[in-house]
Amino acid sequence: MVASGMDKGMTGGGTTGSGTTGSGTGGGGTTGSGELLLSVQDLQVSFATAAGKVSAVNGVSFDVHRGDVLAIVGESGSGKSVSMLALMGLLPKPPAVIDGGQALWKGRDLLSLREREMQRLRGKEISMIFQDPLSALNPVHRVGRQIGEVMRIHEGLSKRQALRRAVELLDLVGIPQPSRRVNAYPHEFSGGMRQRVMIAMAIACQPDLVIADEPTTALDVTVQAQVLEVLMSIKDEIDSAIVLITHDLGVVAGLADSVLVMYAGSPVERGTVDEVYYRTAHPYTEGLLASLPRMDADGRAELTPIPGSPPSLMHIPSGCPFHPRCRYAQDVCKDDFPELRWVTAARHRAACHFAEDLSLVGAEQ
């Protein structure tokens, strides 16, 4: 089991310039089951602002294999969305600058592809689902036309064929009476139904990877589970991988294979869901988990919020960016930036000077 996650270690060989030997290598806690689709190494993104350079993503690495669900977790401003937009080539440049790293998509570096080539990939091989389905759908076009358009562009379908496929897709994502609803406008759908429409658009060309950026955040709690269920069942149907961006660790637990936790633009912990949840090796992850309401235990367990708030990217603290909020912080944390490094098993990494100690405590409990 452990070894299977290591078989892509070659991708990381010598690609990182600054990290420790451990931090750059691939195998971001994946199940390693399918073909390697995407291998991101040491991605660095910053924004040029009037007040100077702001580093938004600082050395993120992960691998995505076919069939995987990778969850990227973090608060707003942790760099999770920016990383994804950078991979998709959707960041406005300027002000965004990609300072380093590479993102190999089936062997080709996404970060150096020309816009025209990226256009051919987007929507066809890699697609994206956005947070607010109402504002992500064009208000003046019928949903059938919007879903059909993707296939007309990428697969050269005729108007009629595209509309037929749109009906099938609406049916697939669980929209009742699809042949009627295909003629409706986005505002005629409820929030959950709109997100299903977005999913239909995202999977229309059977992409290899779907990036879902907080796909349920704008939805009612009762609808969230349904939408995620649709997303997961379709993932199996079209045999793709999913990168799920979220700030909700509860969502992650049930769906993801592996987790990447980010804080202030840096990856702080990476591993399988079990490793990250039960052998937590970073105080920030621990804090996130503690602020999650739990139904098991005895129901009286108190919620423990993380004190303070995430740092402004303009003023990232010295040393470990989390140290001002960390209850274990020592002097070394103020001065030395902890690299992401091995903790226990082959795939579990954390960026904490005391990762081993924390992890051992977690394993004992």
């Binding site: 066809k124 607010d132 064009n138």
Partner: protein
């Protein structure tokens, strides 16, 4: 058997149903605005009159009939009377509709299309393209259309085409600014990001995705611009830098007969009234469209 036959999906099911709920809605609101409907009715009548001009009129608008000069209105077949060299004023005014509508529509259409193209490029692409287009716009803003026409007349000679070109050249940038402002706002919307994430090209995003969302002020502007162009043509012709006689322009008719205002006011009244009614009708329609297209003003 209890099997429910599944109806295969026919093409009829996929055909768009009674299309365009949006436009139906707009029309419903437009209809409620009485002035707008009156305006529309006036324009319809004018268009019919313009088309049927040869049938309706008894005299050639350019014919000089020295036997019947200075006739008052309703003298026999000369319903609007005749001027001091015997032109039939009714024929002149009716044929004048053709000139006015031609100028109005051509100027509105071309300045809108040009304005949309440049405004869209400017607003969506930003940067150098935006700066370049906006500086050109600033330049045109500083030139009064009358001066521009004088210059154009100097280049291509006086006539209808000079008027039309001059008005297009001095009208497009108003649309460009309106469209640019809409695009600046709309390009930040998530559906534009989503369209990019689906791999759509820039032109498709600009004109198929953003433009339909920005069309409302453009339609209103274009309608008002028709009236504006008609008025401007009349003014240019009045100032003798517009169309050439005997082309029956209302502005020209007013200019030619302005000396007779005291003795024969009908010579100015009829073409002047025609300008007034036509421009007013387009303003009514424009206002009605503005209200009907704006969901916030619908109640």
């Amino acid at each position: 058997m209890s099997m429910v036959p599944v109806q295969p999906l026919g093409d009829a099911d996929l055909a768009a149903p009674s299309d365009q709920a949006f436009w139906r809605d707009t029309w419903r609101h437009f209809r409620r605005n009485r002035l707008a409907v009156v305006g529309l009715a006036i324009i319809v009548v004018l268009v019919v009159l313009a088309i049927l001009a040869p049938v309706i009129t008894r005299y050639d608008y350019a014919a000089i009939d020295t036997e019947s000069r200075n006739l008052p209105p309703f003298s026999g077949d000369h319903w609007f009377g005749t001027d001091n060299i015997g032109h039939d004023v009714f024929s002149q005014v009716i044929y004048g509709i053709r000139v006015s509508l031609l100028v109005g529509f051509l100027v509105a259409i071309f300045s809108t299309v040009l304005g949309v193209i440049f405004g869209a490029l400017s607003g969506y692409l930003g940067g150098l393209v935006d700066a370049a287009i906006m500086r050109v716009v600033d330049m045109f803003l500083a030139i009064p259309y009358i001066i521009l026409t004088v210059a154009l007349v100097g280049v291509i000679g006086r006539g209808l085409s000079a008027v039309i070109i001059a008005l297009i050249v001095s009208g497009w940038f108003v649309v460009a600014r309106v469209v640019r402002a809409s695009f600046l706002q709309l390009k930040e919307q998530e559906f534009v990001q989503a369209a990019r994430a689906l791999g759509y090209g820039r032109l498709r995003i600009m004109f198929r995705h953003i433009l339909p969302n920005a069309l409302q002020p453009v339609i209103v502007y274009a309608t008002l611009a028709i009236g504006g162009a008609i008025l401007a043509e009349a003014a240019l012709s009045f100032l003798a830098i517009g169309v050439l006689p005997p082309t029956p322009s209302w502005g020209l008719l007013v200019a030619e007969n302005k000396g007779l205002l005291a003795s024969q006011p009908h010579l100015v009244f009829f073409p002047g009234g025609a300008i007034f009614i036509t421009v007013l009708a387009f303003v009514f329609i424009g206002d009605g469209l503005r209200d009907a297209l704006d969901p916030r003003l619908r109640s």
